[in-house]
């Protein structure tokens, strides 16, 4: 996240990028691409063509650059775009049958056996639970866990008020808790275990 001192530089960079300066775009990419990549990979999982998705997010940013009013909000704006890219890809994948695989994976679970599984297995089950959360909600969790993201940042990225952002976060967490319980895992126990 840029500091106050860096903000001026960022504004200049944005101004240059607006004029089509490719070097400025390169700097913006260097600066924000890792975070975008992290959000995309957490929302979409490992099967993702990450580089392609990151590129799409930045190209969309360029298309909508005129709508960015405050340079300071570039990060939220870009993360919002990246989230939309992720959700579009999730929908696209669902439409083409990828969801079936997820459903199959869920179908094969045996929650009653969860008590006996080892720590590693519990962790694997927890990852499955995380993957089973609706991508739209998972993206909210991923955004909240990005380095330095506050609830206000989350609200800005989601284009909503802070109470709404909190409610969405709460709903996302609740769905994850539900998915964990469906696999016989108590979220609080797992939290202590992972800590």
């Amino acid at each position: 996240m840029p500091t106050v001192a860096e903000a001026g530089t960022e504004a200049e960079r944005i101004a240059r990028a607006r004029e089509g300066d490719l070097a400025a775009w390169g700097e913006l990419y260097d600066r924000h691409a890792p975070e975008v990549a992290q959000l995309l990979s957490r929302t979409l999982g490992p099967e993702l063509d990450l580089e392609d998705a990151v590129q799409e997010a930045f190209l969309r940013l360029r298309e909508r650059f005129d709508k960015l009013q405050k340079p300071a909000s570039l990060r939220s704006y870009l993360l919002g775009i990246a989230r939309n890219v992720a959700l579009d890809r999730a929908r696209s994948a669902a439409a083409r049958g990828a969801r079936e695989a997820q459903v199959e994976a869920r179908r094969g679970l045996a929650p009653s056996a969860a008590d006996e599984v080892s720590r590693a297995e519990r962790r694997a089950l927890a990852r499955e639970a995380l993957a089973a959360v609706d991508p739209e909600l998972r993206s909210v969790l991923a955004l909240r866990h990005l380095e330095g993201t506050t609830l206000a940042d989350l609200a800005a990225t989601l284009s909503c008020s802070v109470p709404t952002a909190r409610a969405r976060l709460r709903e996302a967490a609740a769905q994850l808790a539900l998915e964990l319980r469906a696999r016989g895992i108590d979220p609080e126990e797992l939290r202590h275990e992972l800590a």
């Binding site: 775009w25 990419y29 669902a94 866990h145 506050t150 909190r166 609740a174 992972l194």
Partner: protein, 793 residues
């Protein structure tokens, strides 16, 4: 790094889940992007930065290139022209497979299920240009005669691209007849009156939008006859003509009670004519000739025998996306409701999906023998087929009455219904209203050309003519529905042909031309003539009539001229009641014409249906008003508004306007009617907002804004309706929440708590907010009690 789980003041369980997500992700390696990715991005950026203007011949000035990019409304992926389909209501572009996955248009506020697929040009555009030039060179009269003498196909000939209206994404079905009463016509064929029949029948009978006919083939003569229900016929045999129905529900029928011919007819109606079919298997006749005959249509492969046992129903991933199976708004809640439905003790023994079949609900086999589909669907030719492989849906009534049964089956009927029988004048009116502006421009172009023609033979190469022609071509390129072209061509033909009649008296030699012209006026333009004949065009048409009158007095052949005059009066008097009769006659005449193609027939059928729909809609609207059926006002007002805005001057428009004023006046007098009007939309709101998570945010904001503003626009009123619908859904949720709470079902609390918190954030002030807050507090208290209890244990 801040710790979200601590900062956000989440309840313990949610905070733990949030922390778990963070911990799991923290274990993941940080994704790295290859340096080449940056270069690729900058290269893509560089190529996108270049100005793009596409030149038709590739030699545009400056080598610039114009690129029009389409994106799918559902998945937002790139869309190629080939393979894309457009929503029939709002023209939003989609991938065909996305339409198949989503089941409807994904544009916000539109749930259209009819889609248009762009197809290659039938004839090259230069032909039309050639016709223009030929018309100019040959002179007005000759051109008109040539166009007229070739019959009514002249108007259709220049089409350069065609749109086929389809139920997404199947090939275009042949349309079924429009229903005069505007209702969905359902035939329910059953063997004996089993429990499922008894309850389902009541649900169907209670639905006013259905016209239900029952065929009970295996009635016990000792039982008292079933009481007749007004408006719903009961047969003891299968009706012969299936063209009268939009959907057939085929129950547990003894193969001896239906003939092979009837089954073959049923199959043909489904495959060729888009009849919807729901096969509801039963335990009395689980196998035999009936299912054998229909096997190619079924979405499942049947095993050798039906199976008894005990199973819970499980919604599949595909099933969760089907609106008909959404008994609850949220995904997790809906899945749970399905799992908790009463267990079934019998299923028809389907072994798996047939090719093209989509399994919606299944039961797990014994000892992991694999899942067996019990509710599945597929497309069969032009029609949709749903398979119901169990017979205990009636037991869903426990605690909820007919709610689940009605929601599931009525929505299923809507899904499988024959697409062309849909009675949706409001949809047509909206579509037409949106396009009116573009069409007016087209018409204005033709006016200019027609005026030029009327003043004398223009130079075919004149600037005005060429500019008009080019603009016309450009507009047509933007317009996915090419049928307008035909209508405009006909209109132009008529204007051209009318010119000499305005400038000189008719003679006997003109009689054939007059006849053909009169026939064209009544037969061809139909919809478009309504606008074309207003104003100056009407004057032209009347001049034509006057000329014909003068000719009649001079000639002895009164009969032919009288017929021609009748047709002309019908055309110029359009859109009064006579038009429907003329349109139907014209359709019959056109159908007999060996030169009439199937596409032409369909086009005329649609035009006839459109005219009739408006008449019927107004009649229905009057009836609703007379009966003060306030719950149906919701659509009525907006439809009347659109009709009044769209219809040309005339009796229909005046009537629509008066009715609209009356609706507004009645709504103004009784404020409760406005609420009831909103409530009428609620029944649909459940399926319109399948996830039910965030959709009401915007509606509520709008609701707050609009509520404070006395000058509601039509669009804002729509927003209010949506907000009321969302509120009602919340009220239903609160009711269920209270039920969950009093039953002390702790396992449901996490989700419930979140939703209640959400409600407290968003509900407008009032009783519901208070109730949500109380419940939330109680759950918080009980939740902590529960935690203490568990800790002690």
């Amino acid at each position: 790094m801040s710790s979200p789980e601590h900062d956000d003041a989440l309840p313990t369980t949610e905070a733990a889940a949030l922390a778990v997500a963070g911990a799991l992700w923290a274990e993941d390696p940080v994704p790295t992007l290859a340096p080449s990715a940056r270069d690729a991005f900058l290269a893509a950026l560089g190529s996108e930065s270049a100005p793009r203007v596409e030149a038709s011949d590739g030699d545009a000035p400056g080598g610039a290139e114009l690129e029009v990019r389409l994106r799918c409304t559902y998945c937002h992926d790139r869309l190629e022209l080939e393979g894309s389909v457009y929503c029939g209501q709002c023209l939003a572009p989609h991938h065909a497979e996305c339409v198949e996955a989503h089941g409807a248009c994904a544009a916000p506020g539109c749930a259209g299920t009819r889609f248009v697929r762009a197809e290659p040009a039938a004839r090259p555009r230069p032909l039309r240009r050639a016709a223009w030039v030929a018309a100019g060179l040959l002179g007005l009269t000759a051109a008109a005669a040539a166009l007229v003498s070739s019959g009514w196909q002249v108007g259709e000939a220049p089409a350069t691209s065609q749109g086929t209206v389809t139920q997404a994404p199947a090939p275009a079905p042949r349309p079924r007849p429009a229903r005069e009463d505007g209702r969905l016509h359902v035939l329910y064929v059953e063997g004996s009156p089993r429990w499922q029949y008894r309850y389902l029948k009541e649900v169907l009978i209670a639905e006013p939008a259905l016209s239900l006919q029952l065929a009970l083939l295996d009635l016990d003569p000792d039982l008292p006859p079933e009481a007749p229900t007004p408006g719903h016929t009961l047969f003891d045999h299968v009706p012969g003509d299936l063209a009268d129905y939009d959907v057939v529900i085929l129950g547990d029928v003894d193969p001896q009670d239906v003939s092979a011919t009837w089954l073959a007819q049923l199959r043909r109606e489904v495959e060729d004519y888009g009849l919807g079919l729901i096969v509801a298997a039963g335990s009395s006749h689980p196998r035999g000739a009936v299912l054998d005959a229909l096997a190619p249509l079924l979405p499942v492969e049947l095993g050798p025998t039906a199976i008894d046992g005990r199973w819970s129903l499980a919604l599949t991933g595909e099933g969760a996306q089907v609106p008909a199976l959404r008994l609850r708004a949220t995904y997790s809640e809906n899945t749970r409701i399905w799992r908790d439905l009463p267990q079934i003790a019998w299923h028809a023994g389907a072994t798996g999906p047939a090719p093209g079949g989509e399994v919606w609900v299944e039961v797990q086999g014994r000892e992991g023998n694999g899942a067996a589909p019990v509710l599945a669907a597929r497309r069969a030719g032009a029609g949709q087929v749903v398979w119901l492989g169990f017979e205990e849906a009636w037991r869903w009534r426990a605690e909820v009455g007919d709610e689940y049964l009605a929601r599931c089956f009525l929505t299923l009927l809507e899904r499988v219904r024959a697409p062309q029988s849909r009675w949706a004048p409001e949809v047509e009116a909206e579509r037409d209203a949106e396009r009116l502006a573009q069409e007016q421009e087209l018409t204005a172009l033709f006016d200019r050309v027609a005026d030029a023609l009327a003043q004398g033979l223009p130079d075919p190469a004149s600037t005005e003519l060429r500019a008009a022609e080019e603009r016309y071509d450009a507009l047509l390129d933007e317009e996915p529905f090419a049928d307008r072209l035909g209508r405009l061509q006909v209109e132009l033909t008529l204007v051209r042909a009318a010119v000499p009649w305005r400038t000189r008296p008719a003679t006997a030699e003109d009689l054939p031309e007059l006849e053909a012209l009169a026939a064209q006026l009544a037969v061809l333009p139909l919809e478009h003539a309504s606008r074309a004949l207003v104003g100056e065009r009407l004057t032209q048409a009347r001049a034509l009539v006057d000329a014909a009158n003068a000719f009649q007095s001079e000639s002895g052949d009164a009969q032919l001229v009288r017929e021609a005059l009748q047709l002309l009066h019908g055309g110029s008097g359009f859109p009064d009641g006579e038009a429907c009769r003329l349109a139907r006659e014209a359709f019959a005449q056109a159908s007999r014409d060996p030169g009439c193609t199937e596409t032409d027939r369909d086009r005329i059928r649609l035009a006839v249906a459109e005219i009739e729909q408006r008449h019927r809609f107004l009649a229905e609207a009057t009836r609703i008003l007379d009966q003060a059926r306030a719950e149906r006002y919701a659509n009525l007002e907006s439809q009347l508004f659109l009709l009044a805005a769209w219809l040309p001057e005339g009796a229909l428009r005046d009537r629509a306007r008066k009715l609209q004023q009356r609706v507004q006046a009645e709504l103004g007098r009784d404020p409760t009617l406005a609420l009831e009007r909103g409530l009428a939309v609620l029944r649909d709101a459940w399926s319109m907002d399948p996830l039910g998570r965030f959709a009401s945010d915007e509606a509520r904001q709008q609701f707050e804004l609009v509520r404070a503003n006395p000058a509601h626009t039509q669009r804002q009123v729509e927003r209010i309706r949506a907000a009321v619908a969302a509120s009602e859904r919340d009220a239903r949720f609160l009711y269920n929440a209270e039920k969950v709470y009093t039953q002390n079902r702790e396992d449901l609390f996490p989700d419930l708590y979140v939703q209640l918190s959400f409600l407290v954030d968003w509900l407008p002030d009032g009783e519901q907010l208070q109730k949500a807050d109380e419940l939330k507090t109680r759950i918080e208290r009980e939740g902590s009690d529960w935690d203490d209890f568990r800790d002690r244990r």
